[in-house]
Symmetry: C2
């Protein structure tokens, strides 16, 4: 007599054995991402790097514990991205973006146009098709807000002029990245690359965000005033997540991307009096789902494909363009009086959005395993290279500031020395 099907709640395909395996896979993901994330931080690298590596190790090319194509894992991984972009939205204050103004916008625009254009040209020159070139270019656009903010904060540089420009630009190019995501997703799904299509897709994405923000700003305050009257603990956070999910679903219905809906949902809730509690709850629930996303992305990496000649060549070209494009973008606002190189270097790390492009391209067949590997390599290297480079530049900027007696930079930089 076997007792294996002890709790037969799963009536559909899969059943008990698969849920037990799911538990084991999730436990491995949680422990693996935390341990390797910590290890990465001990080596002064961002935790997300360790989480990706954990996924690579758990995935098919090494231990084979996590199958990224399992429907439950992949649904939970999608909930992870959706919650991540909802969190980023919750942190995004539209007005303070307006204030950092010209410099941030210029850096963001240049930091999208330069690498995107260069990558399109270079990859087509290397003989890649139009679609892989498009996906590669798109993957190079968005700086990882999480990574750059974390690195800057670790260095005590968030409160400097450079820090503010970087944060503003990173948030703006994340928004641009979301629009590009919708455009590229539309094209990958079968559209042609005519300007009218691009305009229409961007229009739908922007219109959805604008409508969501405008309508949401009227609906959210009374909604959360009502939700506050529900005494059960955790209600506010759960209603916020329901709000994000609902907007994700609406975005999908409207022909946009679910993560754009979730991001717009976060922006809408940013100013609510209940926002701090919503952020806290979302981060807690996100701490369960977001590692599943990073680990799944890592688990989808085919190490052999990553190490193939093609992936290394294309990956190398993408890395050069990715680093040079963002560093140059730091110099485009010529009137900026702070350290332009510091800004440029801080814009280099790519993260979530680049990985989303790679994953999307792979899943839809727009790119092959080698091209996926090349993008992964670019994301890994740009993420890996930034913290030490940024640290070295910060020390130099601090010394110069001390010589000139500029207090606020000294204060920021010296704080970094203590930590």
């Amino acid at each position: 007599m076997t007792l294996a099907p002890a709790l037969l709640l799963a009536t559909a395909a899969g059943g008990e054995a698969s849920v037990a395996h799911l538990l084991a896979a999730l436990a491995a993901i949680f422990v693996g991402t935390k341990v390797l994330g910590e290890l990465a931080q001990r080596f002064r690298q961002p935790a997300v790097l360790g989480e990706l590596v954990a996924g690579v190790l758990l995935g098919g090319s090494v231990f084979g514990i996590v199958d990224a194509s399992n429907p439950v894992i992949s649904a939970m991984s999608e909930i992870g991205v959706i919650l991540l972009l909802f969190e980023i939205g919750l942190e995004t204050d539209v007005r303070s973006l307006m204030k950092v103004g010209g410099e941030a916008t210029t850096v963001a625009m240049a930091g999208v146009i330069l690498p995107f254009g260069a990558a399109m040209l270079a990859t087509e020159a290397l003989g890649l098709g139009h679609l892989p070139a498009l996906v590669s270019g798109a993957a190079l656009c968005a700086t990882s807000v999480g990574i750059s903010a974390r690195v800057l904060s670790d260095l005590g540089m968030l409160d400097t002029t450079e820090g503010r420009v970087v944060l503003g630009a990173a948030v703006i190019d994340d928004i641009i990245g979301l629009v590009i995501l919708a455009v590229v997703a539309g094209i990958v799904a079968g559209g042609s690359v005519s300007l009218s299509v691009v305009g229409r897709v961007a229009g739908v994405a922007v219109a959805f965000v604008v409508l969501a923000v405008v309508i949401g700003a009227r609906v959210a305050p009374p909604l959360f005033r009502v939700a506050e009257k529900i005494r059960a603990s955790g209600t506010l956070g759960l209603v916020a997540i329901a709000f994000a999910f609902l907007l994700g679903w609406l975005a999908d219905m409207a022909g946009s991307a679910m993560i754009i809906g979730a991001f717009a949902g976060g922006v809408v809730l940013h100013d609510l009096p209940q926002a701090p509690e919503l952020r806290e709850s979302t981060t807690r629930i996100g701490s369960f789902f977001v590692p599943i996303f990073f680990a799944s992305v890592g688990a989808a990496v085919n190490l052999r494909a990553l190490m193939s000649g093609d992936a290394l060549l294309v990956g190398g070209v993408l890395i050069v363009i990715g680093v040079a494009g963002k560093v140059l973008a730091g110099y485009v606002p010529w009137w900026f009086r702070g350290d332009k190189l510091l800004v440029g270097v801080a814009m280099v790390p790519r993260g979530e959005v680049g990985l989303i492009f790679a994953q999307m391209g792979l899943a839809s067949g727009a790119i092959n395993a080698g091209e996926f590997g090349a993008i992964m390599l670019m994301v890994l290297v740009t993420t890996f290279v930034t913290p030490p480079a940024l640290g070295r530049r910060a020390v130099r900027v601090r010394r110069r500031a001390e010589d000139l007696g500029i207090d606020d930079l000294v204060a920021g930089a010296s704080r970094s020395k203590e930590t």
Copy 2:
């Protein structure tokens, strides 16, 4: 051109459209359970009652938004039960159970044997098969710790002798319920009902719990001392959940039930210095998954089957036995000097474990939709009937205590008047 597959992370069957629908279903579950839970509380009923009703409304027999047999929903619902029993384990202090001693154990044992035996006899007399009789009897065993503790706390009666006996007995009969669950699950999975089989299954379940607790008690403290060194926020909570999942998986491997593993995992962690933080984190993550469990259980209710003559007859019999069995059990420890009726009434509500039995029986084909409906009816009615009955008894006990000048009971009871 359609943009629907905008984010093609889901490579397996299902894909984008199903994830968008999943988001909508989850949003409906979160809002529905919170709103109906609050409504139930306004009518002085436990929130869980409202959450079940929300599930019934969202399920196939009314709005059809939530499909409890969807593999992702059902996996998340299982994670919900697992986290719920992990939470209960985290609240269970083995030593304070020992202290409430004789009375609690007697009430628990009598409260399992009386309804189980009576239900087996009565349902077989009504012409049900051996398996449905077994499942029905098992579903009547376990008092819902959550419901009775919540009700007693709302009445300010948790700190009275009666309150302590009820809490102790409820926790003990939950443990007995878990063993019965493993036994019945084994039998339902194809074993015969011989005493040696029952003994072996119970032995495996008990041995697993004992081994898990003994080994876990040695492994957990150093494990969590190491986990504490990882600086990323939320690490401790996530490691705790990984611990619960790992024990659930081990329990499944050992031929026991996953929820027994999760419960044992909670008991092991109860005494850790980090326990308060683990409880907080688990409750937060649980606040996402547990409503999915209750809503799924509700969604599986077939209202037409519930209202069929058979379900009403069997359900009515189960209700009478369920109420009488637990109330009588309160009188079995004859030496107890507190109010025996209060204890008995407080033991009446059935919840999680009863629902798990019903779900398991239905999924494995051991019971039919009508018998499932009868058990649901019993769970709904016993849960529904307790709070007002307990309130009325509490007022009478308080008056008598005031007349006698028994201080601690007066203190407890008068606190209830203020709330």
